[in-house]
Symmetry: C2
Subunit: 441 residues, 2 copies
């Protein structure tokens, strides 16, 4: 499944010159999908160098069975059968290779600059599910609230997840309004109160879109799970820690998450990621083996995806003073305790029907090192300056303007970047997932 093949050959070049720059996120080996505004409507595009190929404008160059490329969103392409999705990738690649036999005039007419594009969500997201698949994140967060018992007994047996809010998923670049919400009473003599969130955080996550779905009552076996995956994207699961703390018992996070979830505009297909599949995180000695329905050899050997992830912050003052964003953390998606195949198979294991365009996210991607923690809650250890975690020197974070951050301030821009780069293949980038915090209403 998704073998490394000729489409990944690093020697391949495109007639779109910017795609041949080794630092480009979007060489001809990538071909990530996006949806962008096209007049009054929207079109599906493919990223190539610093351009977008508008697929609806070159549909005549593709076989008529690929008519889904002319739809307004990716939903039709996502629903194509596995083999057809692969065939479409090869066909689009054929249009963009430097020696293409297709009509260059039509193709050049279908190119627009990414810098001119207004992106939209890639598809109608039917359901959004958020997992909690980093054992490092779960352990860090758990140890703040249960120092002697940070990891709950189910964690290493079951990919913990919860249903998220689909309506408030927004595309990168959308401004994010600081939510207002109920907070826990300050002490035994007072009651709860409502005010703007003071502990506003981001969560660095990787998302994955469902391709073919399954019928209600059926399940997706682990050895076929990846056929049901369309591609991956960057996710910022914005989180209101103070709202969550008061509301989340006993039924989980609700308004602490549903004010916004940002995703990058680009969906990098599983085919493009084939060269970067990696072994799943090795379970520690003494850890239980996954139950049979979550286990197979391929998951162990290729369940991971070697995506390098970075989080950058630029405060409003920094931007006003012309200062560059600073890097808050660097992580890797291979650090997840549960693989994307395990999450998808588990999700369907009760008969729940997954549908094309459903979005799942990994949960915060944190690694074992201090600098690979994927949210401010972990980086600044709950924002508690007076009680830092042993070994942590990042409490609070100092910005080049002299400002300090425990949590996000109004005007802050938070940027997540991701890319695959192993030195022997072309870089496969995810672009970025960015958002600026607006003050509460």
């Amino acid at each position: 499944m998704y073998p490394v093949n000729e489409t990944h050959n690093p020697e391949l070049k495109s007639w779109v010159e910017s795609a041949n720059d080794p630092s480009s996120d979007f060489p001809v080996q990538n071909l990530p999908y996006c949806v962008f505004e096209d007049g009054e409507s929207s079109s599906v595009g493919v990223g190539i160098g610093d351009r977008i190929l508008n697929l609806s404008r070159c549909a005549s160059l593709l076989d008529s069975r690929f008519r889904a490329v002319s739809q307004k969103t990716l939903s039709g392409i996502m629903a194509l059968p596995f083999a057809e999705r692969n065939a479409l990738r090869e066909a689009i690649g054929g249009l963009l290779l430097e020696d293409t036999a297709a009509d260059r005039a039509v193709l050049e007419d279908a190119l627009i600059a990414q810098s001119d594009a207004t992106f939209r969500l890639p598809c109608r997201i039917g359901d959004y599910t958020d997992f909690y698949a980093s054992v490092f994140h779960a352990t860090n967060v758990g140890s703040m609230f249960r120092p002697n018992n940070p990891l709950l007994p189910n964690y290493k047996h079951i990919p913990i997840g919860y249903h998220g809010r689909a309506s408030s998923v927004v595309v990168s670049g959308t401004e994010v309004r600081r939510p207002v919400g109920q907070k826990a009473p300050a002490d035994e003599n007072s009651g709860p109160f409502r005010e703007p969130c003071k502990l506003l955080d981001y969560e660095l996550e990787v998302g994955f879109f469902v391709a073919e779905g399954n019928k209600l009552g059926s399940t997706i076996p682990i050895d076929r799970a990846e056929e049901y995956l369309f591609g991956m994207t960057l996710v910022n699961d914005w989180s209101a820690r103070d709202i969550q703390k008061w509301e989340y018992q006993p039924l989980g996070p609700f308004l602490a998450k549903s004010f916004a979830t940002s995703i990058s505009p680009w969906v990098v297909t599983m085919e493009a990621l084939a060269p970067f599949r990696a072994p799943a995180l090795e379970r520690a000695a003494g850890d239980p083996s996954p139950l049979d329905y979550l286990a197979n050899d391929r998951n162990d050997s290729h369940g991971g995806v070697d995506i390098k992830l970075e989080v950058w912050l630029a405060s409003e003052q920094m931007r006003n003073e012309g200062k560059d964003a600073i890097c808050l953390s660097r992580g890797n998606f291979t650090n997840m305790y549960w693989t994307v195949a395990q999450m998808l198979t588990h999700h369907s294991s009760n008969g729940c029907n997954l549908q094309p365009g459903d979005l799942m996210a990994s949960g915060t991607v944190s690694g074992p090192e201090r600098d690979s923690r994927g949210c401010l809650l972990e980086l600044t250890w709950d924002g508690d300056k007076d009680n830092p975690v042993p070994g942590s020197q990042r409490t609070p974070i100092e910005l080049p303007t002299g400002e300090e951050r425990k949590f996000l301030a109004d005007g802050d821009e938070l940027i997540i970047r991701g890319y695959c780069d192993d030195g022997s293949h072309r870089r496969i980038g995810f672009g970025q997932c960015a958002g600026v915090i607006l003050p509460a209403n």
Copy 2:
């Protein structure tokens, strides 16, 4: 808002004779919407007596501004502005009154028997949210697991809710496959295991559909909340108690719920329910007042809806032996601690965007009496025959065949019914929400 007006006059009669039977759920004062199969497609209809008026077949008799009646689902009608929805109700009522001036031949041609109809979901449900708004249910369930502290500190301050799974919401009559899932280890020396759910339960709930939505980042004030409500429906939030127990910490219910949620095919509009608005449940002495954003006089005086609710069970053996279903419980929607307006306003209070067709459910409707408990977990007190709750004599439930039930068995049919009846207005019925349990795969 939604005043009791001439459309509620109990003297009004319809030319559809069955609608004038006092026991009918669907007199001309009700006019609930539904969606049903119509050839290869589907149409919007309105229940009248034992018939459905196919709105797409009599659209020519309605003002052209109501063209949404010809859509395949209710989504277009749901999205109409508040005043337009009211006007449409009056227009449809005008077609069905006994002295209608409209073309009777067209109307009679647009009628089909409910018994011949195959219902579909009323709309595309963008997001589904489940609340936990019965303090009796929350106290009962809490006391099983935390006898000394049954109700968590946030309960009386905040309408607790969580995001549910929209894809697995099914219409009444859809068979429900018993889910398979991970269970907690039996003891310290064993691990978790996967098997079919053994503690399969129903939850009696009332659902409500969002009409006009709000934009991301905006909120819906409590004094306008009901303008954003389209109508109500019956919900069975099927629950796998054993799966939930192992998976739900720390992020809430997930696969224990997402295998199926059943709703009745009928959506009873808020206009039809106007005569049955009732005071919200009186808060007990010492209970906190709701925070300002959840409080107003109208909520106190008319926040409740006097819907009588019943749950009926017929096992496969009972049906084979020709025995009638037995009533498991009778409740009333006025027993909820939080009103529908409070739930909707709270949901949007962080800026979360609600959209037309979003479904919210109340959580299990349990009242203070033993016979008004809305799920088997409460009725049979966790199915524990040896440790019944004081005062409970229903552990386990004895069926007329000699069978016993702590939780649902394969082949069981579970039926929820609901109706408003105050003796002075015509009965406003919800029909039923039914489902039969299929054995696990």
